[in-house]
């Protein structure tokens, strides 16, 4: 049916959930979704601190340019908007 203000929330089928950790905290996410999306759903927005004043930073450009959503995985720094979540992924934020 044609709806003036459609809501497709319940028409989206996702993969099953896997668990991963963010700064040691155990969380769930749909396998393969971006870490940025998983953290937004978990309301964990504060991912790093600014170099000069230590102010909180998080996902901003969502396309791999701004470098503010970077986290550490396996010793490597990677943008959370470009990182798919997999089972047992261990993520460490750059919060000081």
């Amino acid at each position: 049916m044609f709806k003036l203000a459609p809501n497709h929330q319940n028409d989206i089928v996702r993969t099953s959930k896997v668990s991963f950790t963010f700064d040691g905290k155990s969380l769930l996410a749909h396998e393969g979704e971006s870490l940025a999306a998983a953290l937004i759903r978990a309301k964990l927005l504060h991912l790093s601190d600014a170099p000069a004043d230590g102010a909180p930073r998080g996902v901003f450009c969502c396309m791999g340019l701004c470098q503010e959503c970077v986290v550490q995985v396996g010793g490597k720094t990677i943008e959370s908007c470009r990182l798919p979540v997999s089972q047992d992924l261990q993520v460490i934020s750059l919060r000081r």
Binding site: N7, V13, L45, H46, A55, C61, C62, P84
Partner: protein, 473 residues
């Protein structure tokens, strides 16, 4: 691994894909490099593998179609790779890209740059808080992950994107607290003639606005968010009415929210053009600094062609034909005779561009806009540098982008100046009382994207260093 190709295309959006597809029809070897996992660019970004099924959208349908076309073609698509440098030799281009932590070089006789656009966001107090995202940024999460951003979003920006963001947030089950647009109803009426020629797109835009009315979401025409408040994330925004020149006026009002999406239009991602040696020109109506190019994508650099939004913001419709034109130019450059109807493509591009250009006009920055950036507002997000610090440097004599960059490090951080340069250009132009077109962007330096030192070093080892025998005493 491919080390040599006739034609390399950087970017796999509507322009890059169409350029690669048409060039491959002429039996040239074509390599298309892109940083995303699959073709589509930002506008037709593919859903993440976490989505097993979802209702179709015009973007998902167009994206699927181009992804199928690419997979059935002879185009070699290098996905998930990041071009970090472009070099020129006498008769070729050398593209350096990173793939899975390794730096690889690709030689090509002909180069097509279709790197698209990024977003301009005017710095305002609080715009660095977690929970503040770009408007184009929000759409990329919407398209890829199909989740709403936050539980209550305020959208504030220019052009049609503000309404698209609000409509998608609602479609994906999120709430929108309000939509603020710098444009007035009159601005939109001026764009109407171009929109009427594209009734499908006009109808779609009206549906976005209808969805807001149906859900009783206030639309504030001629208003903008002037401050984002919160401790570690967004708690509310302050907003004001803006005048004809977009300077904020009158008393502030407030809206509670946990997410703010801000956007001031798209700007060309011009750094690749600079590295390739292409001259730039300033066109406020097309998103600021863009490459100097003919309609068919030819530039001052022989063998290097440009197309799509990176060559001037004209939208995805125009980008598709622009890609075809640039692809054909490359084929002609390599000596082939073409059998595609060039004149018809040119006319089609002009028609499509007139719609895109009308939309881009809605985002042309006006003189009062920079008043939103207060003295204490952080402008360079990477290095945390405020407008006051940048203006002090300008007043001390730093009258160019390069001198501001080396003086206070604004633009030296990980983003490479992509999110502060436009604002700083305005500050310098204001201090010098000259048009922004006289403030040229700083010299482009590799890397175009962050590359780890390990990647650059490759398999080089310290023990490989040639150390000559010490001379006898």
């Amino acid at each position: 691994m491919i080390t040599d190709t006739d034609i390399a295309v950087i970017g796999a959006g509507p322009a890059g894909c169409n350029a690669a597809l048409i060039a491959a029809e002429y039996d040239f070897s074509v390599v298309m490099l892109d940083e995303q996992a699959s073709p589509g660019g930002q506008v037709w970004r593919e859903k993440s593998p976490a989505i097993l099924h979802a209702p179709e959208t015009p973007e998902s349908v167009a994206g699927e179609s181009i992804r199928n076309a690419i997979s059935q073609s002879n185009v070699s698509h290098l996905s998930g790779v990041r071009v970090w440098h472009i070099e020129r030799s006498i008769d070729a281009f050398i593209i350096h890209y990173e793939s899975a932590g390794v730096s690889i070089s690709l030689n090509c006789r002909c180069l097509i740059i279709a790197t698209g656009a990024r977003e301009y966001v005017q710095p305002i107090p609080g715009w660095t808080l977690p929970g503040v995202v770009g408007m184009a940024g929000a759409t990329s999460i919407f398209k890829q992950d199909l989740i709403p951003m936050g539980s209550k979003m305020v959208v504030s920006g220019t052009g049609p994107l503000a309404f698209f963001v609000a409509a998608e947030q609602q479609r994906l089950g999120g709430k929108v607290a309000a939509v603020l647009t710098s444009n007035t109803f009159l601005d939109w009426m001026k764009a109407l003639p171009a929109m009427i020629l594209r009734p499908g797109l006009l109808f779609r835009g009206l549906r976005w606005i209808t969805a807001l009315y149906v859900n009783r979401i206030p639309i504030y025409w001629g208003h903008t968010v002037t401050r984002v408040e919160g401790e570690c994330s967004v708690s509310r925004v302050e907003f004001k009415k803006i005048g004809k020149d977009w300077s904020p006026q009158g008393e502030p009002s407030f809206i509670d929210c946990d997410c703010v999406s801000l956007g001031g239009g798209l700007i060309s991602a011009f750094e690749s053009f600079q590295l390739a040696g292409i001259s730039l020109e300033h066109r406020r109506d097309l998103g600021g600094w863009i490459p100097k190019a003919e309609q068919d994508g030819r530039t001052n650099v022989g063998g290097c062609f440009v197309c799509g939004d990176g060559a001037g913001i004209r939208g995805s419709l125009a980008a598709q034909t622009h890609g075809k034109l640039a692809g054909l130019s490359a084929v002609v450059f390599l000596g082939a005779e073409i059998n595609h109807p060039i004149d018809e493509l040119r006319r089609e591009h002009t028609r499509a561009a007139s719609f895109g250009e009308a939309m881009s006009k809605l985002s042309i920055p006006r003189p009062g806009l920079s008043k939103l950036t207060t003295a204490q507002t952080v402008v360079c997000r990477c290095e945390g540098i405020t407008r006051a610090e940048i203006e002090d440097e300008i007043n001390l004599g730093a009258q160019s982008m390069t001198s501001v960059k080396s003086g206070v490090r604004a633009g030296m951080g990980p983003c490479g100046g992509k999110f502060c340069q436009t604002a700083i250009t305005e500050f310098i132009a204001k201090a010098k009382s000259c048009p922004v077109s006289e403030i040229v962007p700083p010299t482009a330096r590799p890397p175009l994207r962050p590359v780890s030192v390990n990647t650059l070093a490759g398999d080089f080892d310290y023990s490989d260093l040639p150390i000559s025998k010490p001379s006898p005493l």
